[in-house]
C-alpha cells in the first residue's frame, strides 16, 4: 500500500497542550502506545520466483537492492508482552512531492513461521538495532493516523540475546535519543492501491486539510526525502 505522511516536532512543554488540541479535533481520547521496533538488514534478497508477479502488486521491496526492514509490536495493546510482531518495509519516498512524503510500504502481521527468518543464524536477516517509543499516543481522525511519541535507544548489549524473545529492556536504562525531551509527531494516511488516482487525490486532500486545520498549533513539515532512505549502502 501507499502512505502519505507529514511530520513535526513538539517541545516537551507543549506536549500536554497538543494532546488537548488533538483530542478536540478528533473528538476522541488518545490511545496510549508503547512500541518496540527492531531494525533488520536484509542479508539476501527474497527469492522472488514470482517473475509473473504483476507490476501493480504491492511488494514494497524492489528486488534489486537490499534494504532495512522493521519488526514492530505494541506492548500496550491487548496482549501486552505477547503482542504479535508486525513486519514493516518502507520504500524510498517518491521524489518531486514538496507538500508531503509519499512512499510505498508493506505491513503484515507475521506469525511464527515467518519470524523464523529473522532469528539469528538464518541467513536472511541480520539484526542491527532496536528502539523503543514511549510514552506514545495515537489519535485517529477519519482516515488519518496521528502519533506522538518519544524515542528511546536501548542500552548496549541488548542485541546479544535473540531480540525477538528477549525481555523488554528496562525503561530506566534506556536513554532518550533527543535529550531535550521533544516529541516526534507524525500524521499518516494510507491508501490501498497507489495507482488509483481518485483515491490518491482524496487521501492527499484529506491530509492537506488536516494540516490546514492544525496550522498554528502544530506545524507539519516535509523532512528531507533521503533521510527516509532504507536501502543498504555499499551493496
Amino acid at each position: 500500500m501507499h502512505e502519505f505522511s507529514l511530520y513535526s516536532q513538539i517541545p516537551a512543554t507543549r506536549h500536554g497542550q497538543v494532546l488537548q488540541i488533538l483530542a478536540g479535533v478528533t473528538a476522541s481520547q488518545p490511545t496510549a502506545t508503547f512500541e518496540q521496533t527492531l531494525i533488520y538488514q536484509q542479508a539476501r534478497l527474497a527469492e522472488t520466483g514470482s517473475k509473473k508477479a504483476p507490476a501493480g502488486r504491492q511488494s514494497a521491496v524492489p528486488a534489486s537492492r537490499l534494504s532495512y526492514h522493521k519488526l514492530v509490536r505494541d506492548l500496550k495493546g491487548a496482549e501486552g508482552e505477547n503482542a504479535p510482531w508486525t513486519f514493516r518495509a518502507e520504500d524510498v519516498p517518491l521524489p518531486g512531492m514538496p507538500s508531503f512524503v509519499s512512499r510505498a510500504t508493506t505491513e503484515h502481521v507475521f506469525g511464527e513461521a515467518e519470524l523464523e527468518k529473522f532469528r539469528q543464524g538464518n541467513g536472511w536477516y541480520k539484526y542491527i538495532n532496536q528502539y523503543l517509543a514511549t510514552p506514545g499516543h495515537r489519535f485517529v481522525h477519519n482516515n488519518i493516523i496521528i502519533r506522538t511519541r518519544r524515542i528511546l535507544s536501548v542500552p548496549e548489549g541488548t542485541g546479544a540475546l535473540e531480540p525477538l524473545d528477549a525481555p523488554i529492556p528496562t525503561l530506566s536504562d534506556c536513554n532518550l535519543i533527543d535529550p531535550s525531551g521533544t516529541y516526534y509527531f507524525e500524521a499518516r494516511i494510507r491508501v490501498e492501491d497507489g495507482g488509483n488516482s481518485k483515491l490518491v487525490e482524496q487521501a492527499t486532500a484529506e491530509l492537506m486539510a488536516f494540516k490546514k486545520q492544525v496550522e498554528g498549533a502544530i506545524d507539519l513539515r516535509v523532512p528531507e526525502r533521503l533521510a527516509f532512505d532504507t536501502r543498504v549502502k555499499g551493496t
Binding site: 473528538a27 495515537r138 485517529v140 477519519n142 482516515n143 490501498e192 483515491l199
Partner: protein, 595 residues
Amino acid sequence: MASLILRPWTHDSPDTSSLKDILARAQRGHFRDITEVSLQEEIAGEGTFELSESESDDEEEDKDEEISSAKPSTRDDLFKARLEMLRHVDAAHNDVMIALDFVSLLLTHDAPEKGKASISAGLRQEVPIGSLGHDIWHKMPQDKPREAQDKLLATNVRLESLQQSADSLLAAASRLEDNVRKETRYWDHVLSINENGWNVCKLPGQQHRLGVTYGFSDSAPEFARRGVAALNATSDGTMVLERGVGSKPRAVRVLLKRGEAVVGCSRIPALRNEGEVALEARIRHARDSLFDEELYHEMLRESRGQISLGISMKGTGIVLKPNSAESPHATKVVFELVSLGEVEDETGEAREQDSLAQAIALAARMLLSQAHREKVKKRSNVPPSMSERKDERTSLPILRPIMASMLHKAAIDQSNSYLASVGSLLSAASIEHRSQPAAFAFSKDTEAGIEGLVSTLMQCWTSEASLSLYDRQTTIRLETTLATSFGTQYTLSSADGRVTRFSSQEELRAACDDVLASELALHLKLGAGESWECNRREALLVRPDDEQGKGRRVWVTLDSEAGVLSLNTPTKKVSWGSPGGVAASFSDAWAELLD
C-alpha cells in the same frame, strides 16, 4: 437615531459632517470627558484669554513704530528703504487703479462714453459694460422695536437648538442604559445555562452568536447536525432558542398490549420540571426529543432488516411479537413516537405491567447509548487503508436484545407452566417428585456500571428447569440468542444421559411426556420383580406368559396437553387428573392391576 431633516439649498455646501467630526473639531477630547463643569471652566478661562490677547497686540504695535523710525545708516539700508518705498508706492498705485476701474464701471451704466474711456482693458474683457449700477438709499431710521424683536428671535432660535441637542443627548444616554441592561440580562441567561451543565459554544458559521449544544456527537450525521441551537436575544432581553427548537418535544413510548387492551405503558418525561426556567425546559426537551427521535429512527432501520424475527410495523408503531404462534392473547410490545403535549392522559392510571414497559423503554435507550460508545471505540482504532469499498451503516442492535429477552421470558414461563401442570398430575397420583422451575440466570462477575448492565442484556440467555422423579432427574435447558436462530432452543436431557434438541415448545412437551412416562414405567419395573420386562421407549411393562397362560401388558401414558396421567392395560385404564379422576395413588393402582 437620525431624524429626517430637509434643509433649504444654500450657496455653500451644507455642513453635513457627522457628530464625530464636529466633536473632533471642537477639540475637547472624548465626549465622555465633557461635563457641564468643564465647559463652564473653559468659558471662564477664555474670557481672560481674549482680554490678554488684545493687550499684547497693542504692545507689539508700539514696538514696531519705534523700530521703523530709526534712520537708515548704511548703503544697504538705503537700498532696502528705497525698495520698500517703491513697494508701498506700487501698492498704492494698484489700489488707485482698482478704484478707478470700479468707478468707471459704475459710470458706464449711466454715461457709457466717459466710462469706456477710463476703464482698463483687463476689466473690460472680464466684465460686460453697464453691469454695475447704483442707487442712493436714504439712511433708514433706527427701528428699535424691530431690532429688539430680531435679537429675541435670535436668542430663541439659539435656545431651541441647544435644547434639541440636549434632548438628543438624553435620548442617547437612555438608549445606552437600555442596551447595557439588555446585555446584562443576556449574559446572565447565558451564564445560568452554562452553570446548569449545558454546553454553550460559538456557532460555526455565524459570528457574534452563541449556541447551545445538546446533541450527541456519535449519532448518525443527520441527528448530530441538529444538536446545536442558536441563542437569540429578543427585543426585551429574554432569550429564546432559534426557530422553535424544543417547542414540540417527542418521546418514545412503549405499550404492552394483549389483544387490543393496553396492559402496560411506559412513563413519558414531564413537560416542565420543578424550578426550571422555560428556556432550560426547552433545551432539555430538545435534547430528549432528539435522543428519542434517533432511537425511533434506528429501531425503524433495524426493523426493516429483521422482519423475519417477527418485528413488524403497524401504522407508525413498531410491533414486537415474541410468540408469533400464539395470538391474539400473547403480549405484544409496541414502540411509538408520541408528542409530549398530546398524550398526557394515558399515563393516569397504573396498569399491571407498567414497570415492564418502563424497563423496556429504559433498555432501548441504554442500548442506544451503548451503540454510541461502540462507535467512539471503533473510531479510535487504526483504520484500514483507504480503498474503494464503501461501508454501509449496519443497523444498531436495539430491538434484537429486547426481543431475545422477551422470547426467553416467554419460554421460561411456558416451561414453568408445563412443569407445574405435570407436577399437579403427579401429585394427584401421589407420586413423589421435586421440580425446579427455570429462572433468568445472571453471572456474578459482571462489571459494575452501565457497560456491565448492557453486556448482560446482550448476552445469550440460558436457563434450566428440572424435574426429579424418584431421584432421577430430567433436565430441560433453554437457550435464547438471536444470533444463530430465531426462538429458543430447548435441550432435554433425561436421566440416562440421552440428550435431544428441539426448537418448539410442543415438541419439547411431547418428548418430555414420553420421558417421564418411561421413568414411571422403569420405577414400576424396579419394584415389581424379575418377571416383568420394561420397554423403556414405550413405557410398556410386559410380563410374558406364565404357567397359567396369563400375560400382562401395562403401559403408562402421560399427556400434559389434556392433563391426564394414566396406567393402562388392554382391558382396564386408571387415570388421574382428568375430571373423572381416581383418588387412589399410583402404587395402589399398580398393585391392583397386578392381581
